[in-house]
Symmetry: C2
Subunit: 341 residues, 2 copies
DNA sequence: CTGAAAGCGCTTACAG
DNA sequence: CTGAAAGCGCTTACAG
């Protein structure tokens, strides 16, 4: 399939290549007659402008990068949908990278995206190992924005929930229900958002007079299988916890999976709280109690702030650091602590 | 942030721009000395090759398009993850478009992607209204491949499950459990894959001596809310069905949602079968009986066949049309038909 | 209103 | 081994 160029169109329409380009760009002063002629030829030949060539001269690609941990996790799928759809409306396309939560992949994704000359990047699941890398991009004036992820420096844009507060809400809810042995399942603490949830959990537990049992805390990989087997082992113990707070709804689902495989009844035998408020958690068949991250707002804001940064490079000065308020959504997976026997 | 070019590197390294390009492309015959010098400058300046400019001359973008109905549907999220990850391994990046199951968006997405000079497109959720459009691309030698979607012509590449057979498996399973009133929830029949499921359902019902009750068949939009309210209305009737076959696991989840809101017990009061076998359906807390589409194989094959088409444009002659075998996964949402009262 | 020409940042024959 | 030059397909001052 030989590509049709503006040159080809020009020749057939009997005008210059620049004229073809002008009608493509809706220049004013073009005689209606020649415009019509050119348009006709464009149509006839099935010409499609080469945006690659255009990007080269315009120094704009109208595309952005979206780097996320794992799009099969509904939190990422649902937020990605909001981002992609809104980007489309604004005429940007989005190149998606899936890191599988691997640091090397994150670094590689950023480099490839920069090579492809995306105009900005939205990132999630950024570990603090990448603080320097992100800071450098930011300092160079390259639009980057994290969501559900943050770094402990001034020179970075992010939008996150108040994670500490969110964890406290979960703990308070469970304590009110009479739970004393509450486990916490989190990802690796190099992810600060996850780390904050663990901190909030510990602080709230201690402030309520409970001791921290490190055996009840899982702080390892973002892996369904790992979480599933940790939970199973935990729940097989004689003195098992009566409640578990997971650091995401996806993790909560793994916990429910493990608990159900042990024939534990939810919430009679075990209460479970998630984080995120993915759509599924509101499903009446499931009814997952969770901490809402206001996912739609988070992702929509992420996209719009990034586009703002792209289109106002000069004026933007200070960093964008937004904290969303967490909200406890009580549903069916939490209930009164079982009477100890 | 002024971009660094090969010209800049050349000047500082004291060589010509072509030499810089050569070290970038790992040309053999370059004196180790000059290569090292260039590499040092590249490093020092933080140079990243402009892939846009490169694409223009190479006439290759190393990127593909992925157009899907709705990435928040786990079927698409999980298959997209396989496709994106495998594409990354093969050094292709993927631009994702979300059509929201709107025909206009599909058309627009294809045009934009072609403008961006992607080398091939993977499509899902293609309605038969787009038969001509897809055929034209195919005939022009442009690599396109559909998955979980097909068109009734020779000149199109696709990979789908045997949908008629899949629906029959679901019906057989329910009939064996004693169900007589079985409802079917599908998407619009302009999507042939969905249509085939309805056909298989009808055929199997009739072959088993049951009459088709059109009131038990939903053939409208792919909308969670629509399906939810249709189901709710259906289940409120005195002579409600004892089983429902949904055309996807996502739809089955909507059915379960509606049934639970009516306090129906699953499967005691209602059996539910889905299609897809998303990961969640195997979760013991949910245990959705479903027809497996072999999602991983389907999506991996889709990506690899597309890349094959891209990299062997000349040799490829006949169309790729692959049918995967459906498999019934019996879990917890189906059980014996309740005794009628 | 419209054409000829330069230039975006690369790759790659063509010479030497 | 390496440089000068053409060219990929566009956009846009510069003239007229």
């Amino acid at each position: 399939m030989k590509r049709v160029t503006t040159e080809d169109v020009a020749k057939i329409a009997g005008v210059s290549q620049s004229t073809v380009s002008r009608v493509l760009n809706d220049y004013p002063y073009i005689k209606k007659n020649t415009r019509d002629k050119v348009l006709a030829v464009i149509n006839e030949l099935g010409f499609t402008r080469d945006e690659i060539a255009r990007s080269l001269v315009e120094k704009r690609t109208k595309s952005i990068g979206l780097i996320l941990g794992s799009i099969s996790n509904p939190f990422f799928a649902e937020t990605a949908e909001v981002i992609i759809e809104r980007a489309q409306e604004l005429k940007y396309d989005v190149i998606v990278y899936n890191t599988g939560h691997k640091d090397e992949n994150l670094e590689q994704a950023i480099n490839l995206l920069i090579g492809k000359r995306v105009e900005g990047i939205i990132l999630t699941s950024v570990s603090k190992n990448y603080t320097e890398k992100i800071k450098k991009l930011h300092d160079n004036g390259f639009p980057v924005l994290l969501y559900n992820s943050f770094l402990d420096i001034k020179d970075v844009n992010f939008i996150v929930m108040d994670n500490n507060k969110g964890a406290r809400l979960a703990v308070q809810h469970l304590i009110k229900l009479g739970h004393k042995k509450i486990a916490k399942i989190s990802g690796p603490s190099k992810y600060l958002a996850t780390y904050e949830r663990t901190v909030g959990y510990k602080e709230e537990m201690m402030e309520n007079g409970y001791e921290i049992d490190e055996g009840l805390i899982f702080n390892s990989e973002f892996s369904y299988d790992k979480i599933y087997s940790f939970t199973k082992k935990l729940l097989k113990k004689k003195d098992r916890p009566t409640a578990i707070i997971a650091a995401s709804d996806q993790m909560a689902l793994a916990v429910l999976d493990a608990a159900s495989s042990l024939n534990l009844k939810i919430p009679a035998d075990l209460s479970v709280v998630g984080f995120d408020n993915i759509r599924l958690s509101a499903n009446e068949f499931i009814g997952l109690t969770t901490i809402s991250q206001q996912m739609d707002q988070m992702s929509l804001t992420a996209l719009e702030k990034l586009i703002y940064l792209i289109e106002n490079k000069e004026t933007s000065s200070s960093s964008i650091q937004i904290f969303l308020k967490p909200e406890l959504m009580v549903r069916k997976t939490t209930g009164p602590a079982p009477v100890q026997d």
